[in-house]
Symmetry: C2
Subunit: 360 residues, 2 copies
């Protein structure tokens, strides 16, 4: 396939190695790996994961769960606080699959209880410090939620779930482990408090940074990380992967060169890379350009970065040597700041062997 437009390249051997490493970590710690498929969003990649032994997945929306259920997945957690306006789709889905939903307040659970026609599992989401969503661990809302669950025939209480998203602000292994210690301690305390009343209750957690780095998983039953499948520059910066572990890059046509500014215009902008940005080596960057080769891509060159993106335009700031290598009519790769967002915008993947893999 000739690449004519911005195209997500997938280095499957790298992604596979990332998956194998995380699977081995999960096995070592007795954890169920329930990867978050909001990252790959692809049944084609899902099949490859299944071949590696993965049986349970996480999704970020009911629509996504529907896509993967159609692809044969039968054990799905929608890790987004339940949106009761979607109860009809939830009922449809729960008829066919083992479906777990998230509660963050008793109000949604009561609305749900009134309209559910199929059984679902419910995790109570705990705010372990991200302060984005979830119930505070000492809030009376936990008991209120449990009261609704106890009274319902359609909802099974599964346990407590958390996303320690503050790990994304970490910039060292020490900081990641600090987040992990405090967030898992909160969950363990809840397990201790409730496990006699709810034997078998589960603890589920799993942002990519802590899952990549932490070794103490006492009391935790399941991890739900997703980004680790592809990783990205953000994860390199946090310190939980190497540049070589990034499994996706955007191949972009080179459209123009400006010698005076040592800048290159690529076809590849905010609707391809997203507008996620980060500080990198003193600059605000929207990605790092890489030379493409037969085996994928080379590592980025110091001093080169995606300086700006508009709707379809991307501007690369280049070193003289990188600038020289850019050819109008050729291609250049871009490593993403945030792979989940870049992949969300793509219509398919192209593997390095030239295979097109479908996407949601």
């Amino acid at each position: 396939m000739k690449i004519t437009k911005p195209t997500v390249l997938l280095n499957w051997p790298v992604a596979k190695a990332n998956l194998q490493r995380m699977t081995a970590r999960a096995d070592r710690h007795g954890l169920l790996l329930r990867p978050h498929f909001k990252t790959p969003q692809s049944n084609a990649i899902g099949q490859r994961c299944r071949a590696m032994g993965i049986r349970a997945i996480t999704c970020s929306s009911v629509s996504m769960a529907g896509y993967f259920a159609a692809g044969g997945w039968e054990d799905i957690t929608v890790a987004f606080p339940v949106n009761t306006r979607e109860v009809e789709s939830i009922n449809e889905l729960a008829k066919k699959s083992k479906l777990n939903l998230l509660a963050v307040n008793p109000v949604s659970l009561e609305l749900l209880a009134a309209k559910l026609s199929s059984k679902v599992g419910i995790f109570i989401k705990i705010d372990v410090g991200t302060h984005r969503t979830g119930i505070a661990p000492d809030s009376a809302d936990i008991e209120k939620c449990l009261a609704v669950l106890d009274a319902s025939e359609m909802m099974d209480f599964k346990g407590f779930l958390a996303h320690a998203g503050q790990s994304y602000a970490a910039r060292s292994v020490g900081e990641i482990l600090g987040v992990h210690r405090s967030s898992t301690a909160i969950l363990r305390k809840l397990k201790k408090k409730y496990q006699s009343r709810y034997p078998g209750l589960l603890l589920s957690t799993g942002d990519t940074p802590t899952c990549s780095m932490a070794e103490n998983w006492e009391g935790i039953d399941e991890i739900r990380c997703g980004n680790f499948i592809f990783y990205d520059l953000m994860q390199v910066q946090i310190g939980c992967c190497q540049m070589e572990d990034i499994a996706v890059a955007l191949a972009c046509p080179v459209v123009a060169k400006n010698a005076e500014r040592q800048e290159v215009l690529i076809y590849g902008g905010g609707i391809h890379l997203s507008k996620d940005r980060m500080d990198w080596d003193g600059e605000t960057v929207f990605g790092l350009p890489v030379l493409l080769n037969r085996n994928g891509w080379e590592m980025p060159e110091v001093g080169c970065y995606v300086k700006s993106v508009s709707q379809e335009h991307g501007i690369l700031k280049c070193t003289p040597s990188f600038f020289e290598k850019m050819e109008i009519g050729g291609l250049v790769g871009v490593l993403p700041v945030h792979s989940c967002m870049m992949v969300d915008l793509a219509h398919f993947y192209l593997t390095l062997e030239g295979k097109v893999l479908e996407k949601m």
Copy 2:
């Protein structure tokens, strides 16, 4: 249609008024309005524009031009520097439609000349101060491009084209007019220099800020603004529309409330709103929440804003009165920072009358 997921609401009467105002401005100044359809990306809205007399359009990619050509548009400018890797699609398209492309260097034109099988028009894109792309007005590349065009049977030189994107950094009418004066002066100078050699050469410009505010269009033939159809918070901040002129909002399910933080969790995140952000009243915001009503939406309340977005989550920071009005299981609207990016992420529009309008 019951809204269950993040959904772009279109207030067509407002969009229509925006179109009528711009059409009247174009008429008054003797300009061809060739609206940029990268904003609406919809043949359904395109038909409504056609009913208002619009016959020529701008697109930001060859794929988009293909979509609109299939919708019956026969005069299309792709306002992105030509990507020669797409020459096959260009040939297909140019067979059916009057197609104009942009040149920013002689190299692309030579590559194109070798492979074109259908006639296209070529605008030379001039950098009038944005420094994103385009040829500097005093560069020898202009003559080099003209030499390639003169020698080609397949390429017609149409004139000079610019996008004064630096107007987006303006924060007052005075600043917008300053950008307009300097950028149009550059184009006029080129017209003066080349019009005896190329009688009938056109000058095309058209970012939304200058098109909305400027009154001196001497020498300019065509405007290509697009964002004005919907406007957004960025345009309100620049000073070229009122809050009431914004024609799109994202309707989002309300999922949870946190009384302590006076925050509301909505289903509506970076994959719906994009991650475009702006400074607004002292805060970094990803949009402004608005109450929905039968006639669309109310104006935003001071002190309320979208504080953060992740993949599917949005967090609203609320005043006590706004917080009280938020109901779990209900809906809230979000006015976008950048309507083009938000609309790009949508699958369809829902008009206030409940009609679903297709999108690319």
